[in-house]
Amino acid sequence: MTEVRLLYFASLRDAAGQGEEAWSTDAPDLRALYAELQARHGFPLSVEQLRVAVDGTFARWSDAVRSGSEIAFIPPVSGG
C-alpha cells in the first residue's frame, strides 16, 4: 500500500466533507487514484475536467502514485 496525503478544493472539498485526508492506496497511477476517491466521495467532476498536482507542481494523470506525496485535485479554476 502507498500512503499519501490528499488535498481537496472547492466543490471537491464540499463533496469530501474535508479539505485533506491521509489515504492508503494500491492505485498504480493518479488517474486510478482519482477513480478510487470519486467512488468513495461521489465527486461530481470527471477526471477530464480536472488537473492534478503532486507536491505543489502540476503532474500527469499517468504519473505513478509515490509514497509520502501530497496530491491535489484541481477543479476548473474561476479566479480573476
Binding site: F9, Q49, R51, G56, A72, I74, P76, V77, S78, G79
Partner: protein
Amino acid sequence: MDERDFWLADAPVDLALLRRRVEHERAGAFASFEGWVRNHNEGRPVLGLRYESYVALAQAEGAKVVAEARERFALCAAVCVHRIGDLAIGDMAVWVGVSAPHRGAAFDACRYIIDEIKDRVPIWKHERYADGDAGWLHPEPVRGDRA
C-alpha cells in the same frame, strides 16, 4: 506590501502602493486591469463571494504567468495581486499593472496576464445568490490541452 510580482492578498490592497511598484524611468506607458465583484452572474443576482486558493501552487503559477509576460513583451515592470477570502459587491478581486516604454506592450501584457491568471491559477470563486443558493463556479476550460 509584498516584494513579489504576484501574490495572494487576504485583505484589501493599497492601490497607490501597487501603482508605485510599476513606476519606472524607462516607462512611457502604464496599463492596468482591475477585476471587480459584480452583483450578478449569468442572470442571477449575487450578494457576495469568496475566493479560495491552493496557495502554494497559485503563488508559483501566478509568478510564472507574470514572468512569461516579461519575456513575451518589452516591459519595465509587471505586478499582479489576487484577493482571496470573502469579498463584497464592488470589491476589487484582482489588479494587474504593467509599465513599458510603449503602449502596445503595456496593453498586450496586461491582457495576457489576466487571461492566463483566469485560465491557470488555482483560485476558485464561491458565489452567494439572492435566492439563498450558493455554489462554486467551475467553468469549462477554454483549452483542453493541459496536463
